[in-house]
């Protein structure tokens, strides 16, 4: 048995790294759980109870219950046709409910729709603009419909997203049109922001958009955002709700979810190895792919790292189990995912 004094410098670094990772993970989980508790105590902004929406005989959303709390960014994940848009549009009374209740700011989503909209900014998943007017005029017009006179935030958002306010609406590219949609959803400085798939900007602008979202959160705004862009949800959301075929599959704090699903380790060795060397409790999906070792670690990260250190490493990558993989896991059965009706 090796004594501590006999361990190599490399071993020591690995052990040290392991300890840090384990501690960090535990701290993260504790912090996440604490945050969850705090969220539960927070004011409910959106409360959906047993929402069902039928399109004739087809199910849009079935018995869906979901709560979004004040000051959080809630991601709403699901493939096309899963029922994300249906849920969002039910919240905004754009479509009628078949059954269930939705309250927003404590108000009934359909009876008090106008009062709710006064406090809600909304980016539809697919939308058109009034043609042949300048973007500035169009946005001012929407502001006036909301009873808001200040264009300060509109101008600031347009600058940050590099949106030319003096262009005509019918001359805009798809990306610029989306920018108009984002600006109009945020410019009236409303307390709740509902975004239906806000992806489609170029990477730089997308990052700026995430920064804007985080700032909105800092200012106490609540964001409910649907997406099938998993990286987007990972970047900005506090919690995520996953919907499948009109039914909610899971609602979870995003970090807790990532921890639950583990981390993926990919190692490329200079020397031969056996996958049996890495069979520890809490380690799963151990397999070899193109000479690389790939495994999923839920616990015993230190043991795995030690086992890895017994070999000469060419390349190594330890990453959080991506939501993409998580997503695939929830849809593993793939019984016609996307079969839902009229998103």
């Amino acid at each position: 048995m090796k004594r501590l004094a006999d361990t190599s410098c490399d071993d020591a670094i690995y052990i040290y790294l392991c300890l840090i990772i384990v501690i960090c993970n535990n701290v993260q989980i504790v912090a996440s759980v604490m945050e969850m508790d705090a969220i539960v105590d927070r004011e409910k902004v959106i409360e959906i109870k047993n929402l069902t929406k039928m399109y004739g005989s087809h199910i849009g959303v079935k018995d869906l219950s979901l709560t979004v709390h004040k000051g959080e960014i809630m991601g709403f994940l699901g493939p096309n046709g899963a029922g994300k848009t249906t849920t969002i549009r039910s919240c905004l009374a754009l479509i009628a409910k078949t059954a269930g209740d939705i309250t927003i700011f404590g108000l009934d989503s359909h009876k008090d729709a106008v009062a709710i909209r006064k406090q809600t900014g909304y980016l539809p998943g697919d939308f058109g603009l009034i043609p042949s007017v300048k973007v500035r005029s169009y946005l001012k017009y929407l502001l006036s419909l909301n009873g808001c006179d200040s264009t300060k935030k509109m101008v600031s958002l347009a600058e940050r997203l590099q949106l030319d306010l003096d262009r005509k609406t019918n001359e805009l590219s798809k990306g610029n049109k989306l920018k108009v949609g984002i600006v109009q959803a945020l410019m009236a400085d409303e307390d709740l922001i509902i975004l239906d798939e806000p992806s489609g900007l170029d990477p730089l602008m997308q990052q700026e958009f995430y920064r804007i979202m985080r700032e909105e959160k800092k200012h106490g705004k609540t964001v409910f955002m649907s997406s099938h862009n998993l990286a987007e949800v990972e970047s900005v959301c506090d919690r995520v709700a996953i919907i499948r075929k009109g039914q909610l599959v899971v609602v979870e704090n995003i970090q807790v979810l990532q921890e639950k699903t583990g981390k993926v380790l990919e190692v490329e060795f200079r020397d031969p190895f056996s996958i049996d060397e890495f069979r520890f409790e809490g380690v799963s999906r151990i397999h070899q792919e193109n000479g690389r070792l790939i495994l999923t670690i839920h616990e015993n990260l230190d043991s795995v790292i030690k086992a890895v250190s017994n070999h000469r490493i060419l390349n190594m990558n330890l990453q959080t189990y991506s939501l993409e993989q998580l997503f695939l896991k929830y849809y593993a059965e793939d019984e016609g995912a996307g079969e839902g009706v009229d998103e």
């Binding site: 106008v114 006064k118 058109g128 006036s144």
Partner: protein, 363 residues
Amino acid sequence: MMFGRMVYMELRTGWKGLLIFGLLILIVSAGIPLIFPTYRESLIEELEGANKVNLKLPDEQGGMITLSWEPLEAATSYMVLEDNRSSMVMAKLKYMGNETSITFEKDFEERRYYAVMGVLDETSDPVLIGIATTEKGEDPFQELLKNPAYAGLTGGRNISMLEVTGFVALEYYSWSWMLTGLFIAYLSVSVIASDFENKRMDIMLSASISRRRYLLEKFTTMSVIALFIIFVEIAGLTWGLASIDALSEFSANAALLSLIGSLPFLMVIAAVGVLTAVFSQKARTGMGVTFAFVFAEFFLYTFGGLSKSLEWMKTISIFKYWDYLSVIIDDLFKAADFALLTLLAIILVIISIQVFEKKDIPT
């Protein structure tokens, strides 16, 4: 929030189309009266040699008619033929002699024609000097318009195309509804259906306006546009009538009242357009239904004039309640009809709101 923002935006984005249509209406409404003098002249000038023959009519029935004509140098005598058709195919000899003027009693009511001919010698055929008639000219549509099938155009009235009122009523009013009514039908459907089809509805309705407010603003837009068109028509007609010095027969006031009467008529069409737009949510379907409504109403009115037993059809036609002839011919503005159409438009808008509030907005 101020009511009218959507009205302003609609007018702002659609002003070019409205301007072009307004110009078209102006040209047509001003142009029709300008045609009238030429039309009337053409009827009077139709009779051959009318300028060589002079017919002086008595002021009252039973008086004496004096017919005189220009002498023909080579004529040895003259003969006058009488018929009630200008073709003179059934003509009877009225006079034979050397005089160039004759007088006879007006013992008839219908129109009569007199052909004056010069007899040169026994071997030659008589030469026509000219034809005169007891009325200034013949309106070729007169007999046609008495046909009940044309009740849709005349409202069953005896209208003369030789008078400016009759001419403008038949040549402008009787079909201008096709221009204005179908334009309003097209607009009222498209201002709403295009919001559905171009996916603008989600953003519009995510603003803090209710669906009721949305529809009312759209309907108000249509009212403003209809009013604009009507005033262009009034201006055009008055301008045209003034240009031919006919304002004493057809006053600007008559043009104003008769065309203002079309406002609720157009509003009913707009309301049907709004209703079909919110119901179908598709421009093509909406326009098809609204256009069909307008034509069906016209046919109901026309068929209603064919016989007494079909008169009920008239009562369910909106055309009955825009009685422009009543203002133009009888100098009577039917306020009750105006109110009835306004009420119908309001009811249709209320139904549209009810339908719209229950409908899902399509994605």
